[in-house]
């Protein structure tokens, strides 16, 4: 029901002294609730080339806790980490889920996609016929999904898995898919950013993204802008060493060029974050992490030798995969 109609209805029964108004509103409300708040997001989660730190980070979510996310927010249909089924039974679930929820499920990819040698450096499963590479699986599932969410910096931009010399030709998910990918970066992701993005998809649809595909809600301003030690920076009062209480810029802090709300949000039930323990932010949400952040303890102006120099992520797509069909 439109807002105007709702107001009109309320006005119409405004003078009623019995329960007529409630009788009119309740069914509408019930209908609204059944259509709008009961939806659980069907999720297929692929682990590709990363350290598995993002599924661990996800387990650290508080309010909602992991079990509440499973019960109230998502139907985690396929996940190498959590699913009870194994072997062919797990692959059967994957195939059935894609058919049952085609165009409706959210694909979460955790890890970079190796593209060298046809992607042989990451095989998510083997069948008697062939190896299913991460590249095969992401290409297939990416075309069938409603949303694609890259969790962590490896999946978003290549991250540590694509660090120089990148022997495996690993790239972020966005490079191998011809569609929008929501990049929820971080090494690992802060569970709030990921669960918050899922909540946005469930309740309000696609979140507003920045120019490298990250939800502005979490990555829209820099660590530097929100840092508790900003007053030290403004007074040019820099730490002489790690462990000091002054500004960490001198110790390699990447805060000025890192989009993230770490200083306010903090980590693991919001208890701390790197600068709070007297160490620099190392820019783990950035598109060129880790190569753009090293040496970690050298100040920003002196960082990065030529071979690791940061570049804005290019618009061009990576090598194209031949088929978007079901590889099984």
């Amino acid at each position: 029901m439109e807002k105007d109609n709702f107001f009109q209805l309320c006005q119409e029964y405004n003078g009623a002294t019995d329960y007529t108004l409630s009788a009119h509103i309740l069914p509408i409300t019930r209908q609204y609730l059944s259509c709008n708040t009961q939806r659980k997001l069907p999720v297929i989660w692929l682990e590709t080339s990363d350290s598995g730190d993002n599924n661990i980070a996800f387990m650290n979510t508080t309010y909602p806790y992991l079990n509440q996310v499973f019960t109230d927010m998502i139907d985690l249909l396929y996940s190498n980490t959590f699913m009870a089924a194994q072997g062919q039974d797990a692959l059967d679930i994957l195939n059935e889920a894609v058919e049952a929820y085609r165009g409706k499920f959210t694909l979460v990819v955790e890890g970079a996609i190796p593209t060298k040698d046809h992607g042989i450096y990451n095989v998510i499963a083997r069948t008697k016929q062939r190896n299913i590479t991460a590249w095969d699986a992401v290409t297939w599932l990416g075309t069938a999904a409603e949303y694609v969410v890259a969790i962590g910096t490896c999946a978003s931009f290549g991250g540590a898995s694509a660090a120089a010399p990148n022997l495996t030709g690993s790239v972020g998910v966005g490079k191998v898919l011809k569609r929008e990918v929501i990049n929820v970066s971080g090494c690992p992701v802060n569970p709030d950013w990921f669960v918050g993005t899922l909540a946005h998809l469930i309740m309000y649809g696609r979140p507003e993204l920045d120019d490298i595909g990250r939800p502005k809600l979490f990555y829209g301003s820099t660590v530097h802008q929100q840092c508790q030690r900003r007053s030290y920076f403004d007074k040019k009062d820099f730490a002489e060493k790690l462990g000091d209480k002054e500004c960490m810029f001198s110790q390699g802090c990447m805060g000025p060029r890192t989009g993230s709300d770490c200083p306010n949000r903090q980590w693991i039930n919001h208890v701390s974050w790197p600068v709070k323990v007297n160490t620099p932010c190392i820019g783990c949400t950035t598109h060129d992490f880790p190569d753009g952040s090293v040496p970690f303890f050298t100040s920003l102006s002196k960082k990065s030798k030529d071979q690791y120099h940061e570049q804005k992520p290019s618009e061009e797509k990576g090598e194209e995969h031949e088929s978007t069909k079901n590889p099984f």
Binding site: T48, S51, N60, N80, T81, Q88, N122, S170, I268, V294
Partner: protein
């Protein structure tokens, strides 16, 4: 029943990606190839970088055991810079490391292991659970499935404790070479004591009791998945100004005889791994060869005096006299739960010994050495980092993870590694159990294939200095 080939892929509920090929003859597993199917090449990534980057960068090898990579990289840097570690830093370091062990063990038991033995609710992510051999009654099933939720909280609290001192988790920030960057203040100590109190209560009330119940109903698993009893540990929880003492001693256990590990007896074996030596890369250099005939995994074999060795809580608990038992699937599970409890007691003790004060960090800036090697035990076994450096730049960085030991492929002589040995000879009495039984055996090793997939390439007999 004639020879059957079973492809068990993917093996779920673990860290990383794993496939296993099994041959079954007359109802018994006669051959097993465990195959790690991802490769990242971390040691190459380390080359050319400032050596102090190792603490943060190597943590990115593994999500579930990140802290221990940072820890061993810090020990290595302590050696290279000749740092002296203050007493407060020693306690803080071990508290941070121990918190990650608690997180790992609790999550392994409940999130990864529990659905092997307990009927979970019929909803995602537990759909199509194979309950053909679930032996608990309805009440116990419901109760233990409920403890999954308690484990969610207890493992989160373990990481909260870690983050309180380490800044975040995974990939903590404050455990560095030279000490720890965080100040142990009374508010943090109090908060941490409250957290460890909760975690300890969880382990006592749920984890130990649940382990006992499962081991009672699945007693036959005290004879399934047995290994030959060759154990290796580098010891756990380092103390001393030079990291020279270790609380839980390590060793090499073979034929009931415990000896000190000698690092010069460790050898790689790439016979069945997707790697080749390349002359053009110089002596000893290897490179990935994904199409190598006869190879089946990205995990390189690692041998000690030419033999395969197993690591993990069972090795540690056995060597330190906390556990006497066998070498089976259930022994590994019981030892892990026991270790979890012992660690909660240690953390509480260490927290009480902390003296409130300034951050106990003193990093020297002049390098004392240009090569070094450091070892510790990680959650699932022995871990080694070594580095050759030139003016603080890494020339070569080598990592031997626990998974390289436990998930070793067959060596040049065809000898099987611990997991393959545990699988071979196992009875698979019916087709419904073709994944269930191997899955239980494999998971008892707490597989972490993210850790397996890194190139190590150590020239033997070239490193003399060893940290113990």
């Amino acid at each position: 029943m004639s020879l059957q080939k079973i492809l068990f892929s993917p093996v779920t509920r673990l860290s990383g990606l794993l496939s296993v090929e099994l041959e079954i003859d007359n109802g018994y597993i006669t051959e097993a190839n465990v195959s790690s199917t991802m490769y990242r090449g971390y040691e190459y990534i380390m080359r050319g970088r400032h050596v102090t980057d190792a603490v943060y960068l190597t943590q990115r090898i593994c999500g579930i055991c990140s802290t221990v990579h940072g820890a061993v990289a810090s020990y290595l840097l302590d050696e290279l810079y000749d740092n002296d570690i203050q007493e407060n830093a020693q306690y803080l370091r071990n508290i941070i490391l121990a918190a990650d062990f608690l997180q790992n063990h609790i999550r392994h038991f409940y999130f990864f292991g529990l659905p092997d033995f307990v009927v979970m609710p019929d909803r995602p992510p537990f759909l199509k659970q194979n309950c053909f051999d679930c032996r608990l009654d309805e009440n116990d099933n419901r109760r233990l499935a409920g403890h999954y939720i308690e484990a969610v909280k207890a493992s989160e609290k373990s990481h909260q404790l870690l983050a309180l001192f380490g800044g975040k988790a995974p990939h903590q920030h404050s455990f560095l070479h030279g000490g720890v960057a965080v100040a142990p203040t009374v508010d943090k100590i109090t908060q941490a004591l409250a957290l460890i109190g909760d975690i300890r209560e969880f382990v006592q009330r749920y984890m130990l009791v649940d382990t006992e119940l499962i081991s009672h109903f699945y007693q036959d698993y005290f004879h399934i998945g047995e290994t030959p009893g060759c154990f290796l540990s580098f010891g756990l929880f380092r103390f001393g100004t030079k990291n020279e003492q270790v609380l839980w001693k390590g060793g090499v256990l073979e034929n009931n005889c415990l000896t000190e590990p000698r690092l010069d007896l460790i050898q790689e074996d790439i016979a069945r791994a997707w790697f080749e030596r390349a002359k053009w890369l110089g002596e000893g250099e290897i490179h990935p060869a994904p199409h190598k005939p006869g190879a089946y995994t990205w995990t390189k074999g690692v041998l000690y005096r030419g033999r395969h060795f197993e690591g993990g809580p069972l090795a540690r608990m056995g060597m330190n006299g906390y556990y006497q038992g066998g070498t089976s699937t259930m022994d590994r599970i019981v030892a892990r739960s026991l270790e979890t409890f012992l660690i909660t007691e240690l953390v509480e003790k260490w927290l009480k010994r902390l003296q409130p004060g300034e951050p106990p960090l003193k990093q020297k800036t002049e390098l004392a050495k240009n090569k070094g090697i450091a070892v510790t035990d990680a959650m699932r076994g022995a871990l080694l980092h070594s580095a050759y450096i030139k003016e603080a730049e890494v020339e070569k960085y080598d990592i031997i993870t626990p998974t390289a030991w436990n998930f070793s492929p067959k060596d040049h002589a065809g000898h099987r590694g611990p997991v393959e040995t545990a699988l071979v000879g196992t009875s698979i009495p019916s087709a419904e159990l073709k994944y269930v039984i191997p899955g239980r055996i494999i998971r008892s090793f707490d597989p972490c294939l993210s850790c397996a997939t890194h190139l190590f390439d150590r020239r033997t007999n070239t490193i003399e200095e060893v940290i113990y």
